[in-house]
Symmetry: C2
């Protein structure tokens, strides 16, 4: 929309090397490029972290999807494999101030039960209308805004203000799930169709309001003084991403069997519950609040 038109869309897979859904969709698109053909735009693909993909690991040196802060991209002292890859990718798709990619779709999966979560790169009206459009197509689509829902973020999608991350799950690391592969591919086609229609002046109808889960904070596991886990996600909360959690309801269960409740005045909607990659980041879940955005006033 920079110049009023979407000319170039980039589909990214393998930002994390053990999230196979995006990797294999990108490989499929590379083998069958006609699938991405649309009249009014060019769509290209990128495998973001080839060494992590080959190793079937999230990353080699550090999480590539935390390497895209402007100060890090500009810092020549950062020379890890992922820092180098981030600079290469930013040279290709960025800079953030003048993106070479109009829209970036970054494909991820999660061990949390997040269905088909859309994390928009910004609250640009185009992103929100697109997310609202997608949410009409599949009840598993939910829209979540990060704390930094803008180009100041350090994630790959922040190279452009337009686009989103797709977080699909629950899928174990290193595993392909046929249903989620198919549903993610359908979302990608829907995004391209929407943008193609927009380019051609056709406005696809979207609902007048959009439910957005706004990230507030994250919660670590209870740990002892040496950092060892003392508890795990409570069985009543496991796989209950996007469901309401209110004061007093169980959040964790200690190895000794004792429940630990959520304490807070406000009902929250936890997501990324029991994401494997977040144990080391000290995140047991991320809390969101549920908001209604009116799209008519945008």
């Amino acid at each position: 929309m920079m110049s009023g038109l979407i000319r170039r869309v980039v589909i990214v897979g393998g930002t994390h090397g053990n999230e196979l859904t995006g990797i294999y969709l990108v490989k499929k698109f590379q083998q069958y490029p006609h699938l991405l053909h649309r009249q009014s735009l060019e769509c290209v693909t990128l495998l973001a972290n080839p060494r992590a993909i080959a190793a079937n690991r999230r990353y080699i040196d550090r999480d590539l999807n935390r390497c895209f802060a402007n100060e890090d991209l500009a810092n020549p002292a950062l020379t890890s494999y992922e820092d180098s890859r981030a600079k290469e990718i930013a040279a290709q798709l960025g800079p953030k101030s003048q993106p070479q990619a109009d829209v970036i779709i970054d494909l991820h999966s999660t061990t949390a039960n997040m269905g088909l979560t859309v994390l928009p790169s910004s609250k640009n009206p185009l992103n929100l209308r697109l997310a609202a459009y997608l949410s009409t197509l599949n009840p598993l689509v939910r829209v979540c805004c990060g704390v930094q829902c803008n180009q100041n973020a350090s994630v790959l999608r922040s190279l452009s203000p337009l686009g989103c991350t797709l977080e699909v799950g629950a899928i174990a690391q290193g595993v392909l799930n046929a249903d989620y592969l198919q549903q993610t591919e359908q979302l990608i086609h829907a995004i391209l169709d929407y943008l193609d229609a927009l380019n051609q002046g056709e406005v696809l109808s979207v609902p007048s309001s959009l439910t957005v889960y706004q990230i507030i904070s994250s919660v670590d596991y209870p740990r002892d003084s040496s950092g060892e886990l003392q508890a795990v996600i409570h069985p009543q909360l496991q796989f209950k991403d996007y469901e309401p959690l209110s004061d007093g309801e169980p959040m964790f269960i200690k190895f000794t069997g004792e429940s630990i409740p959520y304490r807070g005045e406000d009902t929250v909607y936890p997501i990324f519950i029991n994401e494997a990659a977040y144990y080391e980041q000290k995140i047991a879940m991320t809390l969101t609040c549920k908001q209604q955005l009116s799209l008519e006033t945008l």
Copy 2:
């Protein structure tokens, strides 16, 4: 039973460093050793692969649970981290001909929907009666015999003829699931109670017959000439471990959408369907046949 009594039981976790269920149960038992106290036997714990546990990876150099063949244990040329660990563990619990551990319980998890699978170390009557006893306690318990259900196997449990591997899932790698933690712990307590009763001459009642899933063979994913996956597990088969699969029923789905059916005269019962760690081992699933063993004639 070597000398008619079970004196020493070893509970092993972390043979694979990213299968957290066993690791955290062993840590719990190390913190609360009274949980393992039984009148007639000693129960000790072992974290088998400390470096892989620290790295949250299945292994460092090679799969520890394939390092226990007698010829490998005796081969001084094998010096990888896991080969060295296997030799240390065999020195501690073995040798196979004269085990220092009467019973070994090796705790694993899987991304396949295997419930609480018991893989006995041999078809020794004690193992089969114990498995039958466990299957009365929880409907998720199933009993599976490997191709090499004896001490010629290369798995850790083969250090003793008595005991089993517990394979619990579906659980993603690097994730703790409270329900499976609790159910696995209950199985361990039931095993210890059974052995303790046996030592004291008390025979706990077991059913007169036992359903055993006998492993026949494994099936790789369809691949192209360069080894790339061409298909994934069919959605109708995903998470359907231990359910019957007959000629013509869908097995895989190609990235292009085409179904690939199972072809075979005999109905089989696939397990380890879509186990993350088996992609590199070229195993999409393992086929079993269902057998009834009479325990009365043992």
